[in-house]
């Protein structure tokens, strides 16, 4: 398994895109911190950037990478190797290098300008979000044989998580404004890892007051240790469930 992970990582490093992604994150994070006079404000701008760009790049790059590795996978499947190991090695290789890219790209600026618990939490959430979207890419590719269709599904999924989901939540909130929905919103936010990450960071930045009563409910729930643990377990489940489902499917897949 180690050997395959090594080959995957070498192959990804040879592919310049991950290096460019690291550089892009590095430059934008540095410039965001330099633009704002207050580094906590910088963190907020960075948050929005991370929650937009990181899922997009992780999801689309991984999807295309897995499709392009179909030859590699086919070659390995006919060899004395466990299918689980092939698929998981590919996952660890991809998730590992994407997380590393994120860590270098945003970790260095955060350490330089905002080496606070909130900064570290942002690094942690960004890393989990990277892993979650790589896992979702594995799930979409294993279910769609056709490359164009698979990439299309990946783009739609990103649109859903990054944009559509919030729209749907807003729509529900307005339609049912007469009902006490605040608690339900906490539950709904668990359905989207990006939103969950955003709420967790915003609560730490002390601007949750801007979110009105819902913000207070969020604070009541996610502010407690239990709420925090529930949020992190949910994020972990978001990464484990897609990859587990994809492994199950891959074991039965015809190549």
């Amino acid at each position: 398994m180690k050997k395959i992970i090594k080959f995957v990582i070498i192959d990804i490093l040879r592919n310049k895109i991950v290096l460019l992604y690291t550089l892009f994150l590095l430059i934008t994070s540095l410039s965001v911190f330099n633009l704002e006079d207050n580094s906590s404000k910088g963190l907020l701008s960075l948050l929005n950037l991370i929650l937009f760009i990181v899922p997009l790049v992780s999801l689309i790059f991984s999807t295309i990478y897995i499709y392009n590795s179909s030859e590699f996978i086919e070659l390995l499947v006919s060899q004395p190797l466990k299918r689980n190991n092939i698929w998981l090695s590919l996952f660890f290789g991809l998730a590992g290098s994407m997380t590393l890219a994120f860590f270098i790209g945003t970790g260095i600026p955060i350490l330089l300008y905002e080496a606070s618990p909130t900064g570290f939490m942002m690094l942690g959430i960004g890393s989990i979000i990277t892993i979650i979207f790589v896992a979702i890419a594995f799930l979409t590719t294993v279910y769609t044989r056709d490359k164009a269709k698979g990439i299309g599904v990946a783009i739609l999924l990103w649109l859903y998580f990054a944009l559509l989901f919030d729209g749907i939540v807003l729509f529900i909130l307005f339609q049912f404004a007469d009902y006490p929905l605040e608690k339900a919103v906490v539950a709904i936010s668990m359905l989207n890892p990006i939103d969950l990450g955003r709420i967790l960071i915003l609560l730490r930045l002390d601007i949750s007051a801007l979110m009105g009563y819902t913000g207070a409910v969020f604070r009541d729930f996610f502010g407690t240790t239990i709420g925090m643990s529930v949020a992190f377990i949910t994020l972990l489940l978001w990464s484990i469930i897609p990859i587990a489902l994809s492994v199950k499917k891959f074991k039965q897949k015809d190549l």
Partner: protein
């Protein structure tokens, strides 16, 4: 050595393998033949565990291959269309396979590697190779780890006559060592002098499994290709 029991495989509505049962033993050289799309490659891929049959079982040395992977140590597989990571060089692919498959007591068989002079092309990227060179890489990899079973899917397609001769000579050598060799091929005349058994498939069904001698005496033809042709014609009617 390999026992296939009533396997079925459907791709959507297409019934690619229909109750196929067959046994392959040591030191046999079996030609798997049949018209295009009759399920030859699917049968081979099922044996390799690349395709998972809908029902039925496949035994390798008496053990069911479902959810097993270690048995593939004993198989060398040359695919019909060798697909390799495009941006790896020949040398890297070979090194990778060695690092995956080599165990302490494996004796590498680099005869084909040297005969095809692939070492001189080691820096070439797989994506830039011609179909024939790709076939040479596939063939060399199949024989490299001295496996007990060789599964060759259309081994001579795309190879020039000189390389075909080299490969045939190699197959003959391995056959004499008592290995099981399973070949699919359309160009029957090339196999005439190698093959000991024939498996004939049609429409996903296994029509017969015979020795060459039986086949020749039944059809009255001495040339394998003619014998097969006459069988195919009778089956079509």
């Amino acid at each position: 050595m390999i026992t296939v029991n009533n396997i079925n495989k459907k791709f959507g509505k297409l019934h690619v393998l229909n109750e196929v049962s067959v046994t392959c033993n040591k030191s046999e050289c079996i030609a798997l033949i049949g018209p295009n799309g009759c399920g030859k490659t699917t049968l081979i891929k099922s044996i390799l565990g690349m395709v998972v049959p809908n029902s039925g079982s496949i035994l390798f040395n008496g053990n069911n291959i479902a959810n097993d992977w270690k048995y593939r140590k004993h198989i060398g597989y040359m695919p019909q269309i060798g697909r390799y990571p495009e941006n790896m060089s020949i040398g890297q692919v070979i090194e990778m396979m060695k690092s995956i498959r080599k165990e302490e007591n494996t004796i590498l068989d680099e005869e084909l590697l040297n005969a095809f002079k692939l070492n001189q092309l080691a820096d070439k990227r797989m994506g830039t190779l011609s179909g024939g060179t790709r076939q040479k890489v596939s063939a060399s990899l199949a024989f490299l780890f001295n496996p007990d079973v060789l599964i060759l899917d259309e081994p001579t397609a795309g190879l020039d006559p000189v390389s075909t001769e080299i490969l045939k000579e190699k197959i003959r050598k391995e056959k004499e060592k008592g290995k099981l060799i399973l070949i699919t091929s359309h160009i029957l005349s090339e196999l005439d002098d190698l093959v000991t058994h024939i498996i004939f498939m049609q429409d996903g069904k296994l029509r017969f499994r015979k020795t060459i001698a039986d086949l020749q005496s039944e059809t009255g033809e001495t040339k394998l290709s003619k014998a097969i042709a006459s069988i195919m014609l009778t089956h079509q009617q």
